[in-house]
Amino acid sequence: MVPIGHYIFLSVALLAIGIVGVVTRRNVIIILMSIELILNAVNINLVAFSRLVGSVEGQIFAIFIITDAAAEAAVGLGIIIAFFRNRETVLADEMDILKW
């Protein structure tokens, strides 16, 4: 098996790339894609430690995270469609109708 530190490094790299995407992009769809990248990074960590310890329970948690990602994507994209219908934009910094 590859040393566990390399898996952690891969996971952190994907997490950092996802955070950069969430913070710097203006398109909400790509922000959601970056969140999917972050959730994937977590899954890599869980599965790698599950393999190291020899217990399958880490994979169960990864399945729950995938469920969560699916729910989040469905609701998030529904919100984007509803917002685009009202304001004709997908840019995050123009979504300010809740701002006082």
Binding site: V2, V12, T24, M33, A48, G54, S55, Q59, D68, F84
Partner: protein, 168 residues
């Protein structure tokens, strides 16, 4: 040996395509590279003897969620958005957050290096047969979280339909 070659190949593929997801201007190109990154992650799962999770990743992420993304990208008018500025001026904040995160994890690895690297990996047979073991834990030990997840999916489905409906 083959094990390591496969891991480094998929790891490099995942990181390169993740960077391309974040930096492409066109959202459709970002979606295509996101598929590549998710499939590379699936390959890493297969390399880690998690066959069930591999097939779940391919079907659910690369199949289901990506279709949803492509669908919304096609619904939302991109021709206008493509000519607008795609990045805001928060590169500095993003770099600081990433650097702090990297330093934190590097410190954690450095502190626990002795136990982390000397701990022998469990034999690959301890995860086999994979689907059977996953099913046993999912329906035996974690049956309550499993049911809660089903309610979560139901709520998300209703929420998505209500959000995307034309008139509430």
């Amino acid at each position: 040996m083959l094990d390591q070659v496969v891991f480094y190949f998929f790891a490099a593929l995942a990181i390169v395509s993740a960077i391309l997801v974040v930096t492409r201007r066109n959202a459709v190109q970002s979606a295509i590279f996101l598929v590549t990154a998710l499939l590379a992650t699936a390959g890493i799962f297969l390399n880690l003897n998690a066959e069930f999770l591999f097939i779940v990743q391919v079907i659910l992420y690369a199949g289901g969620i990506m279709v949803l993304f492509i669908f919304v990208i096609m619904l939302v008018n991109l021709d206008v958005a493509l000519h607008q500025v795609q990045f805001n001026r928060q590169w500095f904040v993003a770099l600081i957050i990433s650097a702090v995160l990297a330093a934190q994890v590097a410190a954690a690895i450095a502190v626990s290096r002795r136990t982390l690297y000397t701990m022998p990996a469990a034999p690959a047979e301890s995860l086999q047969p994979n689907t059977e073991r996953v099913a046993f834990y999912l329906f035996h030990t974690y049956v309550l979280p499993f049911e809660i997840a089903s309610i979560l999916l139901l709520v998300a489905m209703v929420g998505a339909v209500v959000m995307a409906k034309k008139r509430v």
